[in-house]
Amino acid sequence: MKRIILSIAAMMCITLGMAQNAKMPDNINLKSLDGKTVQSSVIQNYGGVVILSFWATWCKPCNTELDAIKEVYEDWQEETGVKLVAISIDDSRSAARVKPWVDGKDWPYEVYLDQNKDLARAMNVGADVPYTFIINAEGEIVWQHKGYQPGSEEELFEQVKAALK
């Protein structure tokens, strides 16, 4: 048992040294809202920055965050060209409601379904949403954040601007 703990500890040490700017996975299958299977490599902003936000219809803070960003999204896009991609982790209980939900909310975002949580697992999202990443033009994860508190979007935007540099 000690060996396991030691080897995990060793791996973490290596990891902390190596973890700078992990690449976002590009080979994970997702579903688009029109039922197509696509690879996570479709998530990109052609030289720009991507905000990747994991959410679910039943998650209040997720909805508050995506609603709040919607208010300022046009300004953000104008200033930085940033694009927000929302990944729903709703399971089959609510996955069929995601497309109507996004339309009903009038969200201007690109949305994909990750019902089996393949992308969430590959990106170490854990069990709690919302969970937000900033991906730079090279496809590297430059910032990540768990949870949403009113005003968190201000810091998110600061990080988007930093990712442009």
């Binding site: 299977t37 803070p61 409601r97 009903g104 009038d106 990540q144 201000e154």
Partner: protein, 547 residues
């Protein structure tokens, strides 16, 4: 165990040896110091401190990845089965994935269609993990066709049990037929077949004759599904069928099972409507027919069609599908009154309506163990199990203040949790106000009221009975800290006073949360994160991080 050790060692060598790859992971540590409280139902804890820990380590190099997960339950937390006690490597895999081909060996999570024939998944807060350990293959021979195959055993605490084999095919006609690529109508068809194998040496006697039952060693489920979309219209359907499967859930009857699920929706900018209907009959499909833990070893999943409420009193009666039989409908409607209209005001107004009704099947008993059990009519319904209606109006009152008001009516039949009693009828009112003081500070107030016709009865011991009020104040400051204070109090016909003080700190992907007080089991959303928690009384803490 040895294999896991070798794996752990191996992966750690790889991480050092294979340059160009990357190591990422996430760690979670939850603990509680709980005291007995008979009123709320928290248990006595001889160890004083209970903890669940896990660390997922993932190595990725191009299309190749490998992972392992440490789990430790040194005194599993309340709500977890005692069988989790222990620690070790609970999950490991290697995987190679490209657009047209993917293979995973080791533990994997997979779902066919809506999960009615196969869903291997985990919910770490509920202590459910039915990951398959075996091989998972995906192959895309042409654009528009995806084939999947799995074979494996299901995780059962620290072991793997049963044997599950399955195949799935999905065809996207628009991708397959070049002329339809840009078509407005999109059609996806799918089908799956899953079989489990189990030895049949156990002796189970028929009710009347006393003969030993001839138990099938192989049980199969198969399903077909359709996903159709045209502009704003969408239609999804799946039908699944299960062969004879006498088991503990259906009390060893030979009736075949089936489920039909339908979802239709229409949406456009600012408006959406969705209707779902479902009929389930004897569809509990598990790896081990005699398994006594009701949540373990499920191979399939039948989605519940009621809404997942998040306010405390509305989610007090979470509904789970009765896989033995139920029929339900659900409707959901969302509308956004635009800015600068009469009802929209300066910032617009959102309205969300939801209703669901779930009933038992209309069945006629024809015998006990060893017979077909019962017959049922397709459209006939029996007892009401669950129903709800909710209206939520949310509105931004000024640039700093947001308000949401919700009214809900919930009907709940305790029989679905296995105990008799009168049906509960509850009215719930919720007010939720967020005031953004400035860029970095905000305060949120939530008040809830529940009026119920149910009365607490010590013999049944349902802690949700009676009339309740609740208040919550949450203060977020510097975008990183939060403090929240809440209290739920039964002021009439009920028992319990659930007070709670929590605080937390978030920095990037790291989050620490500490709470003290009495916790009811259910979904809790505070400090900007939602999670499922068991009943407890005392101190709880949770640390999560990703790297």
């Amino acid at each position: 165990m040895l294999a896991a050790l070798t794996m752990a060692g191996g992966a750690s060598v790889m991480a050092q040896g294979l340059l160009g790859g990357q190591v990422t992971g996430n760690i979670q540590l939850d603990g509680q110091i709980s005291r007995r409280d008979t009123v709320i139902g928290s248990e006595d804890v001889p160890q004083k401190l209970l903890s669940n820990a896990r660390a997922d380590i993932l190595y990725t190099n191009g299309n190749f990845s490998a992972g392992l997960r440490y789990e430790g339950y040194l005194g599993p937390m309340l709500g977890f089965r005692p069988d989790y006690e222990g620690q070790g490597i609970a999950n490991y895999f290697v995987s190679y994935k490209t657009q047209n081909f993917a293979v995973t060996a080791g533990h994997f999570y997979e779902q066919f269609g809506n999960g009615m024939t196969l869903r291997a998944y985990e919910d770490r807060y509920l202590g459910i993990d039915n990951a398959l350990r075996g091989i998972d293959v995906m192959y895309r021979p042409f654009r528009g066709i995806i084939l999947k195959g799995v074979i494996g055993q299901q995780r059962y605490f620290w072991e793997s049990r049963g044997l599950v084999r399955g195949v799935d095919a999905e065809v996207s006609l628009n991708e397959l037929v070049a002329a339809w690529n840009e078509g407005k109508t999109r059609v996806t068809l799918g089908g799956s077949f899953v079989s489990k194998y189990e030895d049949n040496s156990e002796v189970i006697l028929a009710d009347v004759s006393g003969f030993k039952l001839n138990l099938p060693r192989n049980v199969a489920t198969s399903a077909v599904r359709l996903d159709l979309a045209h502009g704003g219209f969408g239609l999804q359907a799946e039908y699944a069928h299960k062969s004879q499967d006498p088991n503990d859930l259906n009390d060893y009857i030979y009736r075949e099972g089936d489920v039909l699920w339908l979802s239709a929706s229409y949406s456009k900018k600012g408006l959406s409507a969705n209707i779902q209907a479902k009929r389930v009959d004897n569809m509990g499909f598990r790896s081990v027919r005699t398994e006594a833990y009701k949540e373990m070893l499920y191979i399939n999943y039948t989605p519940a069609i009621s809404k997942q409420h998040t306010y405390a009193f509305l989610s007090m009666y979470p509904y789970a599908t009765q896989s033995m039989g139920e029929m339900g409908v659900q409707g959901d409607f969302m509308y956004k009154f635009k800015k600068e209209t009469l009802l929209g005001g300066k910032y617009g107004t959102d309205i969300h309506l939801n209703a669901s009704l779930i009933k038992g099947l209309d069945t006629t008993r024809i015998g006990g163990r060893g017979t077909d059990g019962y017959t049922s009519t397709f459209f006939g319904t029996g007892d009401t199990y669950y129903g709800d209606v909710s209206v939520e109006v949310s509105k931004k009152l000024s640039s700093k203040v947001k308000f949401a008001a919700t009214y809900g009516y919930v009907v709940f039949n305790p029989i679905i949790e296995g105990h008799a009693g009168d049906i509960h009828h509850n009215h719930v009112v919720v007010g939720d106000l967020t005031w953004k003081i400035n860029k970095k500070n905000s305060i949120r107030f939530e008040a809830e009221w529940m009026g119920s016709d149910s009365k607490y009865d010590a013999a049944v011991d349902d802690k949700r009975c009676g009339d309740w009020i609740m208040g919550l104040v949450e203060y977020n400051f510097t975008s990183a800290w939060f403090v929240s204070v809440s209290d739920q109090y039964a002021y009439k016909d009920g028992v319990g006073n659930y007070y709670n003080v929590s605080m937390g700190y978030t920095k990037g992907a790291t989050r620490l949360q500490v709470g003290y007080g009495k916790q009811r089991e259910g979904i809790i959303c505070i400090g900007g994160v939602c999670r499922n928690v068991p009943a407890s009384n005392g101190l709880t803490f949770s640390l999560t991080t990703s790297f």
